[in-house]
């Protein structure tokens, strides 16, 4: 592979789709300056840092998530792949191919290193987040393939069966996970596709999920989006500017190899869209505990008003029903537990009965799944009026190691 200077997709985007001013600037200042100028418009999220990108990063609108099986039992082979992935992810995040000039710059007699479908597209705020499943530490046969079983982090538990779970074998677990988020689905899918391709022989795809329409805000500047029930949800999300809350609820702070990492909870939650759509407006609002149009809690105020769970309504019943979603999911009703939700809507066509297979691909980052997720999910599954319209069909829990500096690789603290 020729080592030629890379042509950044970001740069191409700048010339092709930038403002007139940026386009004109290309003529005067040449190619490199344009790349910088467009970089200033910042559709690039820094890959390197204390934490992996794609957690507190302002939620992009699209996601491609893959759960991965590791095929090898060779520790060096696994580490080698993680090193390659890290370099590739850093390039992809900047809007580059997996290797600079990886689409057209290689031998004409060989397949291009990069598959090419993102050529000419913006970096699109692409983030790539990598996590480790419990089975990486000890597989289904009890084997410690990579001599890391003694480093299994406490938080990487086996989930209990939650009421109403109807998990499909083909959507559960994984030795590794890759979460790629971007403004453009093509950019996100391109990233996952190329990482998997680099790993053939070492890894294989276990299951995959595409998401559209972020269902949570991770920054105070973002509007709370709506789920496929048409409601605003996750208003109490931990936001990127709440550094104290992040340290307390999201980042692992135990001095272990997970220091600065987090846990990714993935749940594919199918919604019974058709029956939900037949619920009256009043019924829908009672189930959520919020108004549909404005997202205000039923205790009044606007969307961001703190729900008043003690406010009495008629018949001296709480005005926010005891089985409403907002009540059962609210931090004040969960021992103050807060999570960082980063989920997406999904619609995977129709089932054989002609009903939409659509819902929420729930992703949350927490510091301790045992205390921050399991009790809440047990409560929601057993008591939430909304659960009548939900069925969990996929599940995964992954330890997301801390971020790395240039020259390091994702998971380095685990393998050294």
């Amino acid at each position: 592979m020729a080592d030629r200077p890379g042509v950044s997709r970001r740069a191409l985007f700048g010339v092709g789709a930038g403002t007139l001013a940026a386009g004109a600037a290309a003529g005067y200042f040449g190619h490199d300056s344009v790349a910088e100028a467009v970089g200033a418009e910042s559709d690039v999220v820094d890959f390197y840092g204390e934490h992996q990108a794609g957690i507190v990063t302002e939620a992009q609108d699209r996601m491609c998530f893959a759960a991965i099986n590791v095929l090898t039992s060779d520790r060096n082979e696994l580490v080698d792949l993680l090193q390659k992935w890290t370099k590739a992810a850093a390039n992809l995040s900047q809007g580059l191919p997996v290797v600079p000039d990886g689409v057209g710059g290689g031998s004409r007699m060989a397949p291009p290193i990069d598959t090419g479908e993102a050529q000419g597209l913006s970096a699109g705020h692409l983030t790539i987040t990598i996590g480790f499943g419990r089975s990486l530490f000890r597989d289904a046969d009890g084997m410690d393939r990579f001599s890391i079983a003694d480093r299994l982090p406490e938080g990487l538990i086996e989930f209990p069966h939650f009421p109403g779970d109807q998990l499909e074998d083909s959507r559960v677990g994984g030795d590794l996970c890759i979460q790629a988020c971007a403004d453009d689905p093509q950019v996100a899918v391109h990233a996952v596709r190329n990482l998997i391709r680099m790993g053939f022989g070492t890894v294989s795809t276990r299951w995959m999920q595409l998401g559209f329409g972020r269902t949570a805000s991770t920054s105070p500047d973002q509007e709370t989006p709506r789920n496929l029930f048409g409601f605003k949800d996750g208003t109490a999300n931990v936001r990127s500017d709440e550094s104290k809350a992040l340290d307390e609820h999201i980042w692992v702070r135990d001095g272990s190899w997970m220091e600065g990492g987090s846990y990714l909870v993935a749940r594919r939650i199918r919604m019974h869209i058709e029956t939900w759509d037949r619920e009256s407006l009043d019924g829908q609002e009672q189930i959520f505990g919020r108004t549909k149009v404005d997202g205000a809690p039923l205790s009044g105020g606007d969307e961001f008003a703190t729900p008043d769970f003690s406010m009495a309504g008629s018949g001296n019943q709480p005005i926010i029903p005891v089985d409403s979603h907002v009540r059962l999911a609210h931090p004040s009703q969960n021992n103050g537990v807060r999570i960082l939700r980063r989920g997406y809507n999904y619609a995977d066509g129709a089932d054989t009965r002609g009903n939409l297979d659509a819902g929420l691909f729930f992703i949350a980052f927490v510091a301790d799944p045992e205390t921050d997720y399991v009790p809440m999910q047990n409560r929601l599954a057993a008591q939430d009026a909304l659960s009548e319209y939900l069925v969990h069909t996929g599940s995964g829990l992954f330890a997301v190691p801390p971020g790395v500096q240039e020259g390091g690789y994702i998971g380095q603290s685990l393998f050294t």
Partner: protein
Amino acid sequence: MTLTRSTTTVLTAAALGGVLLLTGCEPNQKSGDGSITVSSTDDKCDVSAEKAPAGTLKFDVTNDGLKVTEFYLLGEDGLRIIGEVENIAPGLNRSLTVTAPEGKYFTACKPGMVGDGIRGDFTVTKSEGGTEVAAEDSQLADQATTQYASYVKDQTEQLQSGTEKFAQAYKDGDDAEARKLYASVRMHWERIEPVAESFGDIDPKLDLREADLVDGQEWTGWHLLEKDLWPPKDSYTALSDADRKKYADLLVSDTKVLFDRTRDITFTPDQLSNGAKELLNEVATGKVTGEEEIWSHTDLWDFQANVDGARIAYEDLQPLLATRDKELDATLKTRFDDLQKLLDKHKDGDGFVLYTDLSKKEIKELADSVNALSEPLSTLTEKVVG
């Protein structure tokens, strides 16, 4: 069975006691966009109009105060509630739609939800178009709810005696007889399931599926015995005789609780219509998917029973619906018939073929037919309470 919100949803427009009702749900073309705005504060109740022509009236109520408020339209005697909307928290907005004929009324805001409220006079003038009829609407509503209550009582009686027979056969170790009774006895339960679910504690005891258990929760009820009667091939330990007795007796005594609670039960029309909708939801999410009876595969019995229960509720409401919306009435009748014809295709003797004998195409046909019925059925409540 999953938990359900059942029929407890707050009724926003309680026109039940109203002798004063009109036919037709066509909004009466009267003032502007047709709605009358109400601003309720802690000491005022500002209503944008003091009169409106007879027909469908829409009040758009905003709570501009600090206390939770309610809004009422009361009859001339100041007592009879023509329509009400409750639980309007500060800053929120709710609408109330009622159908009112010519006459004198009161509007009332009730900040703090106590006392007589802040009242104002309201006059409904003669309508320009609407046909005034049906002072018997309330009688039709009463008739519907009374008939339905009788149906529920009858079904719980049959459920009780059937359950006793089933439990005896099961305890006696007569598995063939118990298997024979299982599906047909459960039909009495499935016909009135939303009623049973409205008592939150009974449904989980009697009808919980294994997948719905919380970790560590004791499993009781029909589906536990179903699994024991149609045991999985691998790694299943049959219940001991002592456990058989324990869980069969529990089934009978829990059913008795339902029986006792339904002796003097009364209903409102919206409970019938919402119940019918919920029964079809049950079909859509549990029966047409084969998830309800994963061991016996007798889902079509439940399917039929859910449809029976929904149909009875609709038929009881039908005379009232006919005065309100003939088109919806005709649609529902046709679609109930269509669905029944499809179900009849799968009858086998006194019962049905097993779910596992259905082809994908047949399941799709059933699912399509359920959707075709459920969608219009979901608009029934608005018609019978408005």
